[in-house]
């Protein structure tokens, strides 16, 4: 039948695509790495853009260039707190050096701290900056090579610092910076007008990324531009922002006016984002992409919806917050409740099932604190869910006695329809109905469970708690792929296996548990489906080989619990069948 052949083709294509993705992932990583290296070597030679003085928020995009070669080394303001350390480049007021003291790059205890922000000279250039555009076309505003003065020592949670610059024409510009105990910097931009004429300026704050980060590239995890603007979550991938900006001839990939909100760049675990302090007022936010000498530059900026006016003797301001740090759920929640930042927790990609995934996170986190091991928390949480759904799966085989009396009827029915399985099944169903027993749980309870178990999977994927969390045996980081490999006989062969020949122990365990689970499931009536059914455990073993170990462990455990559950539910069926046989013998 043509239809079946078509379906077979579809099934095989899906399989090939999955495999292709798996085998190709390391290659793609290598490609990105290479691209980064090229970028690194070019950074120094590519001329930086000239300052753009046009009044228009897009002008914000290119005000970051150097106006000329700086002669003196740039002075820096030290930033220090128990959780972060770094410095602010006083030339241009750029916060371009920030590392997180609580997070390290790898699980080695002496590995370097995670760097969130890096200077322009760095291949991973990534910084925040505050500035102004002259809206009246005549006010002298600070530029990218303006040297700001800062009084006092470092910027710490206890000691805020104000940056000052006088334009020599009657206006003083100020940026009052304060740092909290975690990852939030508040910046109040002010222009103090001591001149005789009113001045009009457009203050802005931006986060700029001058390289394209390596993204994990998983379909279910967003990395790139992110924000809640005018009450709506906006997520734009780097590639999409580039396409969109090109479509608008270099305009912003996204521009949104609205009240409050926040916007920035998200990595899997880290975030750098801006939010207006006054969440009730209206502001304008934009996602931008520009190309400079073939290098991609990404930018998120906030500004008031129109220029602000400082009358003679008066001050005009704009205040924003900058978050640069780790996406810890409780911390983001506290910023929403204490600072009023709208839906700040959505920086974590909780996905479509937010109202399931978020509570799941709290449950997991509670178990994690209780047990002290995130892997154990995953195991306990999965069991709890299974127990919760168990009544749905098990409300069957209520009456053993009825099943016994049914034995002979069933036997007779099977004899009668030996050559017509479809007819046999139909009659069996009718028999179940008249006798008011039915061995299957039904489609509804099963379908209801899909979003639940997907949600758990999703939470495990995004949560930072899993990062560098150890488990039993050889797993020292649940968020990294299992390091063991069958193709080196788990380390017995001193051979550096290519990336596509990575078959870790936990993936094999997953494959075996899935195989057993599939064996217990009824085989689909359709022969093509049945074929696919048989291959699924193999496909998934390969597919999950490069996945975070925590997910593979969760998957294995879930399979194992399903097998146990099916075995338990089936016990009465087995007794009934034994009785049938006994009856048949007499």
């Amino acid at each position: 039948m043509d239809n079946k052949r078509l379906l077979a083709a579809i099934a095989i294509s899906i399989g090939i695509l999955l495999m292709f993705d798996v085998f190709n992932r390391p290659a793609r990583e290598a490609q990105r790495q290479a691209a980064q290296n090229v970028q690194q070597s070019q950074t120094s030679s590519v001329p930086l853009p000239q300052a753009n003085t046009a009044l228009n928020p897009a002008g914000v995009a290119s005000t970051g260039g150097n106006d000329g070669a700086p002669i003196t080394p740039a002075p820096r303001l030290r930033i220090e707190s128990p959780r972060v350390e770094g410095s602010l480049n006083l030339r241009g007021a750029r916060l371009d050096d920030l590392v997180l003291r609580d997070y390290r790059e790898t699980i080695q205890p002496n590995s370097p701290n995670v760097r969130v922000l890096a200077p322009r000279e760095d291949p991973a250039a990534y910084f925040a900056q505050w500035g102004w555009t002259a809206a009246d076309g005549r006010t002298a505003v600070p530029g990218p090579s303006t040297d700001w003065t800062a009084e006092g020592g470092s910027l710490t949670p206890a000691t805020p610092v104000t940056l000052r610059w006088d334009n020599g024409a009657g206006q003083r510009f100020e940026i009052a910076l304060s740092l909290d105990a975690n990852f939030m910097v508040t910046a109040e931009q002010r222009v103090v007008n001591t001149g005789a004429e009113p001045v009009q300026v457009l203050p802005w704050a931006r986060v700029r990324r001058e390289h394209t980060p390596v993204v994990a590239g998983y379909y279910i995890l967003h990395e790139g531009f992110v924000g809640v603007l005018d009450g709506r979550l906006r997520e734009t991938k780097y590639a999409d922002a580039k396409t969109e900006a090109a479509r608008r001839n270099g305009g912003p990939a996204l521009e949104q006016e609205g009240a409050g909100g926040w916007a920035g760049f998200t990595d899997k675990y880290w975030l750098a984002a801006l939010a207006p302090v006054d969440q009730a007022g209206r502001d304008r936010a934009a996602f931008r992409h520009t190309s400079e000498g073939g290098q991609d530059r990404w930018q998120v900026d906030f500004s008031p919806t129109s220029a602000v006016t400082a009358e003679p003797g008066a001050t005009a301001g704009f205040a924003t917050r900058l978050f640069a740090g780790a996406k810890e759920v409780h911390l983001l929640d506290s910023y929403t409740s204490n600072l009023g930042i709208t839906d700040f927790d959505k920086a974590i990609d909780f996905g479509w099932f937010y109202y399931i995934t978020k509570p799941f996170f709290y449950g997991l986190d509670w178990l994690y604190k209780l047990t002290g091991n995130f892997g154990v928390a995953i195991l306990i949480f999965t069991i709890a869910l299974k127990i919760l759904f168990f009544p749905l799966a098990n409300k069957s085989y209520k009456s053993m006695a009825r099943m016994k009396t049914l034995g002979p009827k069933m036997q007779e029915l099977k004899e009668r329809n030996k050559d017509d399985p479809a007819k046999m099944q139909q009659e069996m169903m009718t028999l179940y109905k008249t006798e008011k027993i039915n061995p299957a749980a039904g489609c509804l309870p099963i379908l209801l469970q899909i979003p639940v178990f997907f949600s758990l999977y999703k939470v495990l994927f995004v949560t930072i708690e899993m990062r560098h969390a150890p488990f039993f045996g050889w797993i020292r980081d649940l968020s990294a792929p299992d390091p063991t490999n069958l193709f080196t006989l788990f380390g017995l062969i001193p051979w550096d296996a290519p990336a596509f020949l990575h078959m870790p122990a936990w993936a094999i365990i997953m494959g075996i548990t899935m195989f057993i689970q599939f064996k217990l499931n009824p085989t689909p009536p359709d022969p093509i489906q049945a074929k696919l059914f048989a291959f699924m455990p193999i496909i998934f073993t390969f597919m999950l080989a490069s996945f975070p170990a925590g997910l593979v462990i969760y998957w294995s455990w879930n399979n194992l619990l399903s097998v146990a559950q099916q075995y338990y539910i089936g016990r009465e069926d087995r007794i009934a069948r034994a009785n049938e046989k006994a009856l048949a013998r007499t």
Binding site: A11, S396, P445
Partner: protein
């Protein structure tokens, strides 16, 4: 109306059910209390009754497919002659 074979929405929905049968179903197993199974019922209902009524029939069937319904033989009702 049985000219449903040219109904693109119904075809798209049927493709969705097909996709389910080939991807999710192997994981969760077949647990249907009826004959024909819910997914087969859905395919047939969409072919026979078009997107709108087909979806309604399928939704009704899945909602009935729970432990408190006796289940049994439950074919797609025939399309009304027009």
């Amino acid at each position: 109306m049985s000219a449903a074979s040219v109904d693109p929405v119904a075809e798209a929905l049927k493709l969705g059910i097909r996709a389910y049968q080939f991807t999710l179903r192997p994981f969760i197993g077949a647990h249907c209390r009826f004959h024909p199974h819910c997914s087969a019922y859905g395919l047939e209902a969409l072919s026979e009754h078009g997107a709108l009524r087909g979806t309604a029939l399928t939704a009704r069937r899945v909602l009935r497919c729970n432990p408190w319904n006796p289940g049994g033989y439950d074919p797609v009702p025939p399309a009304k002659k027009t």
